[in-house]
């Protein structure tokens, strides 16, 4: 399903956090939204999922207008948001967290049992730890749980906020592989926000660069990876390396 965001203006009190932002994610696409801390990436996702209200602009999912829906209605419409910092329900068990992910369709017992199996097959460590309180999991495991919890709602579109934050490189790789698999196998549409631009662009089809609440650049992932400004600002590549490398 296509996610379309048009001319979004969002304020945090007096701060103009997003300025006429327009972007879209086509069905089955992985799109990365990169930018520095405080650029407005998290605000963007929070507005799409209904946590924040935009002053102007619209968010559409397929034909459905999401702009003024409450977060629980957005979930029901087919869009799930894995928030920054995972925000798992720490006192509850891993399995309870996953079951709450399917809260909107709690009557479908059979389907939920099947989905639970699917999540456990995807993240075997969660099955091992299913009776443990979620707060006792490692950061990577919590990220898997947060993703599993979101998937239990059977979303068509998934928003991921900093999935690699605070994780070891190997774990980051694992999480990214899962995101790619989800797109391939389930046809999931993904919008991923990352400070780790290189990691996000490595799996994305397209990307947008957000600076001070504005989209300053967009293009295919390859174009962005090869763009000198992006390299300097977000990929941390040394200037000489960029010059002597495969640069244009």
């Amino acid at each position: 399903m296509r996610l379309m965001v048009r001319n979004l203006d969002v304020f945090y009190g007096a701060i103009h956090a997003l300025r006429r932002v327009t972007l879209h994610v086509d069905a089955g696409e992985i799109v990365a939204l990169v930018g520095a801390n405080g650029a407005g990436k998290t605000t963007m996702l929070a507005t799409i999922s209904g946590i924040l209200r935009p002053r102007q602009g619209s968010v559409r999912l397929g034909e459905r207008e999401l702009t003024h829906l409450a977060p629980e209605a957005v979930v029901a419409a087919g869009l799930s948001h894995v928030p920054e910092g995972r925000r798992v329900f720490r006192p509850l068990s891993v399995e309870d967290n996953l079951r709450l992910g399917a809260y909107r369709r709690r009557a479908q017992r059979q389907a939920i049992a099947e989905d639970l199996e699917r999540i456990y097959a995807m993240f075997p460590i969660l099955r091992e730890r299913r009776r443990q309180p979620a707060g006792t999991l490692s950061g990577g495991e919590q990220q898997m749980l947060a993703m599993g919890r979101a998937l239990m709602a059977r979303p068509r579109v998934l928003l991921l906020d900093e999935p690699s934050m605070g994780l070891a490189p190997l774990v980051v790789q694992e999480i990214l592989n899962h995101i790619q698999n989800l797109r391939q196998k389930a046809g999931l549409t993904v919008l991923v926000v990352e400070q780790n631009a290189r990691a996000a662009l490595a799996i994305a089809d397209r990307g947008y660069v957000l600076e001070n609440g504005r989209i300053v650049l967009h293009g295919t992932a390859e174009e962005l990876l090869n763009n000198h400004d992006v390299q300097r600002a977000y990929l941390g590549r040394e200037r000489e390396e960029a010059c002597t490398g495969s640069g244009r």
Partner: protein
């Protein structure tokens, strides 16, 4: 020996109703982080409505059922009309509003049901039971059995039902809860209705023992709150244990020291807990991964 058992049983009975009040506090606090100072008024309302029902000629059973149902509806209405409009105001603002709600409920009851003190007939007559030479009121057994059933029921609700877990999820992280599709306003409404129901049950049970009037909610609310803090906010078992402990200490104080100090016990306990062990006896240690 007989007096001691007498005091203990009295304390147990009284303590169970404090426990029921404390459970109401815990429930709302668990779901929303709000301390609802109108909880004592729900207890009063349960008793007063039952009395009013009997006065207009209903059978005792119907009067009690309607009183509990009516109080539950009042609880839901309080949430809808006075708590929800506050939106995302700071919790302290909401807590102060609950103080106002308490005054309004108290005032309305005084206006419509009067200032007199009332009593309900004990559920199974006036003949006391004899236990080890002590006379135990049969009503006390009703109180204890109901309190045990309510604690058991809540335990099952929170640990074995999705709705109960959704309520805990709301308490832990309302934003994350809404992101999985839980409606936080609906959960808040549910917690107020349930708390009012628990309060009303306590009020109906205790009216045959301690009598009731429009202003008993103040003291009951205070004692329920003290019990809740003693047991640890957020723990249903702790709330009941705190209530019973408070009731027993109060009863022993009244029996061996002087009944003049009876009501001071709750305050002393409240202060002592806040000074020395703010998480309460059974409070959850919040373990955070850093």
């Amino acid at each position: 020996m007989a007096p001691l058992i007498q005091y203990l049983m009295g304390g147990l009975t009284l303590g169970s109703t404090y426990g029921l009040t404390a459970l109401g506090f815990t429930l709302i606090w668990s779901a929303t982080g709000i301390v609802n100072f109108a909880q004592g008024e729900f207890v009063m309302l349960g008793g007063m409505l039952a009395v009013a029902g009997v006065a207009v000629g209903l059978s005792q059973l119907w009067a009690i059922l309607l009183a509990v149902a009516g109080t539950t509806v009042v609880g839901a209405m309080v949430e809808r009309t006075m708590i929800r409009p506050l939106g995302r105001r700071p919790v302290l603002d909401v807590v102060i509003v609950t103080l106002g709600v308490a005054m309004v409920v108290r005032g309305l009851v005084m206006l419509f049901l009067g200032k007199e003190t009332h009593v309900l007939e004990p559920f199974s007559g006036h003949v006391p039971l004899r236990v080890f030479g002590a006379a135990i009121m049969a009503q006390g057994v009703w109180v204890l059995a109901t309190a045990a059933a309510v604690v058991g029921g809540l335990k099952v609700f929170f640990s074995a039902t999705l709705e109960g877990k959704a309520m805990q999820a709301c308490a832990h992280d309302p934003v994350a809860a809404s992101l999985v599709g839980i409606s936080v306003p609906r959960m808040t409404l549910l917690s107020f209705a349930l708390s009012a129901l628990l309060g009303a049950v306590g009020g109906v049970l205790i009216t045959p023992i301690t009598m009731t009037s429009y202003d008993v909610g103040i003291l009951l609310g205070l004692k329920g709150f003290a019990a809740c803090v003693l047991g640890g906010l957020g723990s249903p078992l702790g709330a009941m244990a705190g209530g019973i402990l408070l009731g027993v200490v109060e009863s022993l104080t009244a029996g061996y020291l002087s009944s003049a100090y009876k009501d001071a016990v709750a305050l002393v306990v409240l202060l002592a807990v806040l000074f020395f062990r703010p998480t309460g006896l059974f409070g959850p240690r919040d373990v955070t991964r850093v």
